[in-house]
Symmetry: C2
Subunit: 225 residues, 2 copies
DNA sequence: TGTACATCAGTGAACGCGCGTTCACTGATGTAC
DNA sequence: TGTACATCAGTGAACGCGCGTTCACTGATGTAC
């Protein structure tokens, strides 16, 4: 490993770190290569040695955010009843989101106008939370801790869900997977309302406790005990 | 009503209309007074006769969006079982959001950095959907169509919810109101994932049907039949 | 009903600002013989 | 081990762009007598 290559890696990490910091104050649409260069102590054009364009920097930051969230969620699941573990996933998401509101906004908020994430780099890290969630439900199902809720599904929804079940080799029925989707979107809805301050001023004082209540309801709906 | 005052009102409406249109292409952070002036066929400084600053225009557009959504939700609830009406609220939200993605993003997406909405103008229109939702649950509760779910709540959450119950004079118990909150955030979580394209590419083809399934689960959790 | 003055909409120029990206360049680092 | 050439990081100037906001102004509309 030559010194030059080493310096390059380090600078690359610096750029991502500075980008992260910048997001904390300005929001994805205002993310500026020139500001990154300034912070890096380098002339603006120099950044182009490391990053082909502003959009590429955005992609780096998106992947970075998804990965950090994914790591923290994975680390949090732990062991215990499916309900406990579900709660831990939700709390890990919220903890990260509250600590990193702009990075949360970057990946779960308004899409940056004019920017299209390259799928090949973005899809995998972007599915880590839902994968963890579905894995948890699958384990519970296989262990007989959660029942087939039964009921029917619209044809279109069933076929989409069946495709997912095939892709991931899931044993759980489509009806249960559908509930998993509702739990997934329910968790992020609750976290987004919290982080984006959608509850009126001074209405909810203990948002962390509210989230636990909300997720508790989702767990009920999923049939976890 | 003098012609001048009339012209003023008309121009004011034009400005809001143009702002709406602009949001369709650029996103709230890029909303530009100069572009509005151009579209209005007027020199950039002229807009300041109508609007004190860019932030004031943003506020107008936020109120405008909340109100249109509120109107459409109110119009959609209609009559029928609580479950049916809940579904209609959710579908009205989604329909509006899918038709007006950038206005939806303006009010439910990432907060615009550096902009703080003035509470006095923004809070009332901003609560219309949740008010409609809570009213629906309250009616169902009073009519004996939905039961007290029982169970306990963290002290902090209970006291926040009790404050809301008092403010709106609600008969339903805090435990039921808590479920209402989960349904509320659950609906917006599902709609946001849809509008912001969080489902991977080509995984969900019939998103409207998926929403009905998701809301169906929330209705189950609420104890609606 | 007509006149004198006040109000107001819109103009045009200017302010200072920041942005992404390109380009020809210098000088240091790396590599092949 | 030393030399010749290639690679690469960073410079500095420039491009064309758009932004929000202020200010002194003109000319039309409204109002009080």
């Amino acid at each position: 490993m030559t010194p030059r290559a080493l310096a390059r890696e380090q600078t690359m990490r610096e750029i991502v770190r500075i980008g992260r910091e910048q997001l904390a104050t300005v929001g994805p649409a205002e993310l500026s290569l020139r500001a990154v260069a300034r912070e890096l102590g380098v002339v603006s054009s120099a950044v182009y040695r490391y990053v082909a364009s502003r959009d590429e920097l955005l992609t780096l930051l998106i992947v970075d955010a998804y990965d950090e969230l994914g790591d923290e969620v994975d680390a949090a699941v732990g062991t215990g009843s499916p309900r406990t573990r579900l709660l831990r996933i939700a709390e890990a998401v919220r903890t990260w989101a509250v600590r990193e509101p702009s990075r949360y906004a970057l990946i779960f908020g308004t899409p940056v106008p004019g920017y299209a994430a390259p799928r090949d780099q973005t899809v995998d890290p972007g599915t880590r939370v839902v994968v963890a969630l579905v894995a948890l439900i699958e384990e519970a199902y296989v262990a007989g801790q959660v029942a087939d809720p039964g009921g029917s599904l619209p044809r279109t929804v069933r076929s989409d869900l069946d495709a997912i079940r095939r892709e991931y080799g899931l044993a759980m029925p489509a009806t249960l997977l559908a509930r998993g989707f509702a739990v997934w979107t329910g968790i992020f809805g609750a976290v987004s309302f919290d982080v984006f301050d959608q509850y009126g001023p001074d209405t909810i004082t203990d948002r962390s406790a509210l989230l636990r209540v909300q997720v508790g309801l989702l767990a009920d709906a999923l049939g976890l005990d």
